[in-house]
């Protein structure tokens, strides 16, 4: 009997031990899951998103550029970036243009399927305010003190910025307002300024113009990824005209980009490699290009929503997590010893006391004695030269 009980006991004991170990294993497994999930928080490194969307052409026949920009604006807003973080620059007003048969609308699909103008568009730079100077000032932050917040790009070193530009371009330049150009060198230097001033964490640059790839050729700052609708020597083509409105409504690249973005929702895990596949040559007629050599992460680990959306990283969990403290040791500063006790004071720049009390003007400057001597000697010499030396007798 005792041996049977002993066997039962040991059996139960083993089962309990196994169950115990299994339980521990499972909790540690779920903890490990949560740890991996928590590590996703720190994957991309940005905490806020900004977008700068620029349309550089004016006149009615460039309707499609405004429609391009507004469709990207719409997607970006839908995916979560608020208006306060979007700088929208439209060089002309198409919605209220005299030639618009449907005022207050800008359509992106023919037969007026999709109105990208909507009810709550906030245009920050409009009409003639869209200049190269203003664009560069927005990027670098060098705006006059009176500029309102809605016109500023208030990004910091944890911001991911999307910059979308469309208009007419050429090999190495983009035309603004039919009167000036921005070159790829200027743009690269502006981005370098932004990097040096820590104004971005990562930057996605999309350009939809003819020969758009030339605009990202000169970038040299880290953490920039660039996409363009056409290579150097190719033209970007427009998609479709609407016979009622009378102009081409969208460019091909942005049209297919918009279709792609319509499938993205804030929680989607699509990455940049999918974005590179948007609009192949069969659909776009031009060859879209991209540049990732300056970007430090692998493009397939970069989510679309890292740039196009403003995703708040919230993960709800019922379990507690332990975060490892930082390994660096804090050096204890002995506060008492190193407190600086010397009194600071400003150097006197102006003799304020004298100015305020309006002392009478002391003429501190006197002509040098040599000058006075020389001048009066000459005058006396000329006097006696003219009137004869004999007058000296009368003087003495």
């Amino acid at each position: 009997m005792a041996s049977f009980v002993g066997v039962q006991f040991t059996f139960c004991f083993r089962i309990i031990v196994i169950l115990f170990f299994l339980h521990f294993y499972r909790t540690s497994l779920s903890a490990h899951e949560i740890e991996t999930q928590a590590s996703h928080f720190f994957r991309s490194g940005h905490t806020n998103n900004w977008a700068v969307l620029v349309c550089t052409s004016r006149f009615w026949f460039n309707y499609r550029h405004v429609a391009n920009t507004l469709s990207v604006y719409r997607s970006v807003k839908r995916l979560g970036i608020p208006d306060s973080h979007i700088v929208l620059m439209l060089a002309d007003d198409m919605a209220c243009n005299h030639r618009n048969p449907k005022p207050a609308t800008v359509f992106s699909h023919k037969n007026m399927e999709l109105n990208v103008y909507g009810d709550d568009v906030e245009v920050d730079y409009r009409g003639y305010e869209v200049t190269v100077e203003n664009f560069l000032r927005v990027l670098t932050g060098r705006l006059p003190a009176s500029t309102p917040r809605s016109k500023r790009l208030l990004s910091d070193d944890r911001s991911n910025i999307l910059i979308y530009m469309t208009g007419h371009g050429g090999n190495g330049f983009l035309k603004f307002q039919d009167s000036e150009e921005i070159t790829n060198v200027e743009l690269a230097d502006a981005f370098e300024q932004m990097w040096q001033k820590r104004r971005y964490n990562e930057l996605l640059f999309i350009i939809d113009t003819c020969q758009g790839a030339s605009m990202y050729e000169r970038f040299y700052s880290p953490n920039i990824m660039a996409l363009a609708s056409s290579q150097v020597g190719e033209d970007s083509l427009s998609h479709q005209p609407d016979l009622a409105i009378g102009v081409h409504l969208m460019d091909r690249y942005t049209f297919y980009l918009l279709e792609f973005l319509e499938d993205i929702h804030p929680a989607s895990q699509s990455n940049m490699n999918d974005l590179f596949k948007v609009c192949p040559k069969s659909q776009c007629v031009s060859t879209p290009g991209h540049r990732t050599d300056l970007f430090q992460r692998n493009p397939n680990s970069v989510l679309i929503t890292d740039f196009f959306g403003s995703v708040r990283k919230v993960e709800i969990t019922m379990s507690t997590m332990k975060l490892n403290p930082n390994n660096t040791e804090r050096t204890e500063i002995d506060v008492n010893e190193e407190m600086v006790t010397t009194l600071q004071h400003y150097v006197d720049q102006l003799p304020v006391a004298e100015i305020i009390h309006q002392k009478p003007k002391q003429k501190d400057w006197h002509p040098p004695d040599g000058f006075i001597l020389g001048l009066w000697t000459l005058i006396i010499l000329i006097f006696f030269q003219t009137y004869g030396i004999k007058h000296l007798k009368h003087v003495f």
Partner: protein, 456 residues
């Protein structure tokens, strides 16, 4: 003014005035002028006039003099910052008399008037003597009797010159605004006095001072030289050795005194800043404040790469007329001096009404040319109308905003055209009178009909 009526009655009786009464009338005119200026100084118009751009230019504004001296008191060079463009001798002068500035400017006007008075008196004597000799030598044709000048008409010219200078509204405005143009005019008038008196050294020294002050009077070297040569009976031809000796003497005195004055100015502030600030400023015209001259509008709309070329063109335009006029008028150096001063006042880079009043003071000297002047009515109306329109269009442009700079420049152009017409009209009349004196007054062609004279 009973004294003036007394003189006129004496004139009617054909008597000569004793010099004491002439001097008394000069003193009277001076007193009137000083009263007018003192009244204006004490009134509220003084500040308004001191800011008018027609009266005050960046070169000679009183505000700038005060600013420069204040900078000097603060220990900074007055030429730093583009505000002060006076010469160091001016700094020296005003350093001591800045509290009595009004009296200084009134004395400067008085000196100018007295100097012109004495100069014109001497000049009239010389002209009359020359005419007498030519008449006695029988070189005038028979019918020019009415063209000859008489002592009666020449008696009042000096006092008229003094009146024309002192009571000219332009001079009064310039004095009330305390523009240092008055001092420049005083130096030029002293130079003219010394030239006519015949003292080569003093004339060279005052010419050097005038050039040192505002650079353009160096063109007055030619008429002064011609006058001195004429006075010493040296023939004006390139083959005469006496001509070259005197020219080199006079030239070396002039250049020597200029060098001495410039070096002396160096010692005042121990720097050569004043050269670029004064002469560089006059020559390169960086300040395009509107004034009554021709430079500002043109250079306001000039492209940068044409600017040096046009500056050279405009500056050469000032000096360009000296040699042709000297060749034409080598027998008449004082008329040449009048024309040269007029050309400088019209074409200099920053003219003001004070410059105009200096050559207008000479006009009584040529009143015997009145019968030959062709456009005098038109010219005088143009000048008066433009002078009135200057403040009107300035107000419309700057304050009302309903005009623009073109309007003001149009009036400037019309004013300068009026001045040029005035000078060329006198030139024509002078030459015509000389032609009549040689060829007779009533000119007839071969068939007996009356001829007409054309100035080519």
């Amino acid at each position: 003014m009973p004294a003036i009526f007394h003189y006129i009655s004496q004139h009617a009786r054909g008597e000569r005035l004793p010099p004491a009464e002439m001097a008394a009338s000069l003193v009277l005119v001076l007193l009137i002028a000083v009263t007018v200026r003192a009244v204006l100084f004490r009134s509220s118009l003084a500040e308004i006039i001191a800011e008018r751009v027609e009266v005050v230019s960046p070169l000679n504004g009183w505000k700038r003099v005060v600013e420069g001296l204040a900078l000097l008191d603060l220990g900074v060079s007055p030429y730093s910052g583009d505000v002060f463009h006076e010469t160091p001798l001016m700094i020296y002068l005003f350093h001591f008399v800045i509290d009595y500035s009004e009296i200084v400017f009134m004395i400067a006007d008085a000196i100018t008037a007295v100097a012109l008075y004495l100069a014109v008196q001497d000049y009239n004597k010389i002209v009359y003597r020359k005419q007498k000799y030519t008449l006695e030598a029988g070189r005038y044709p028979l019918d020019v009797a009415e063209l000859l000048r008489t002592p009666k008409e020449m008696m009042y010219i000096p006092i008229k010159v003094a009146v024309f200078y002192l009571l000219n509204p332009f001079t009064v405005l310039s004095c009330v605004a305390k523009s240092t143009c008055g001092l420049n005019n005083a130096v030029t008038a002293l130079f003219i006095l010394c030239t006519i008196k015949g003292s080569a050294l003093l004339s060279a020294i005052f010419l050097a001072l005038a050039t040192y002050q505002s650079l353009y009077p160096f063109t007055l070297f030619a008429p002064a030289l011609l006058y001195q040569l004429q006075r010493l009976y040296i023939p004006i031809s390139v083959h005469s050795p006496r001509f070259w000796i005197f020219t080199s003497q006079y030239g070396s005195m002039y250049l020597g005194s200029l060098v001495v004055i410039t070096c002396l100015s160096f010692f005042l502030l121990s720097s050569w800043d004043f050269v670029t600030s004064v002469y560089g400023f006059i020559l390169s015209v960086p300040d395009l404040t509107p004034n009554i001259g021709l430079f500002w509008y043109f250079f306001a709309e000039m492209f940068e790469h044409f600017r040096p070329f046009f500056i050279c063109v405009f500056q050469i335009n000032v000096v360009f007329y000296t040699i042709p006029l000297s060749v034409k008028l080598k027998e008449h150096p004082i008329f040449l001096m009048f024309m040269q001063i007029a050309v400088i006042s019209i074409f200099k880079s920053y003219p003001t009404v004070g410059d105009i009043s200096l050559y207008m003071a000479f006009l009584p000297l040529w009143h015997h040319l009145y019968r030959f002047l062709r456009n005098i009515f038109l010219v005088s109306i143009v000048l008066i109308a433009c002078s009135v329109l200057f403040p009107v269009l300035w107000h419309l442009w700057i304050y009302a905003g309903s005009a623009n700079s073109n309007f003001y420049y149009a009036i400037t152009l019309a004013f300068n055209v009026g001045q040029i017409l005035l000078v060329s009209d006198y030139f024509y009349a002078y030459l015509r009178r000389e032609h009549h004196l040689i060829h007779g007054l009533y000119l007839k062609k071969k068939d007996g009909t009356e001829e007409t004279l054309i100035l080519k």
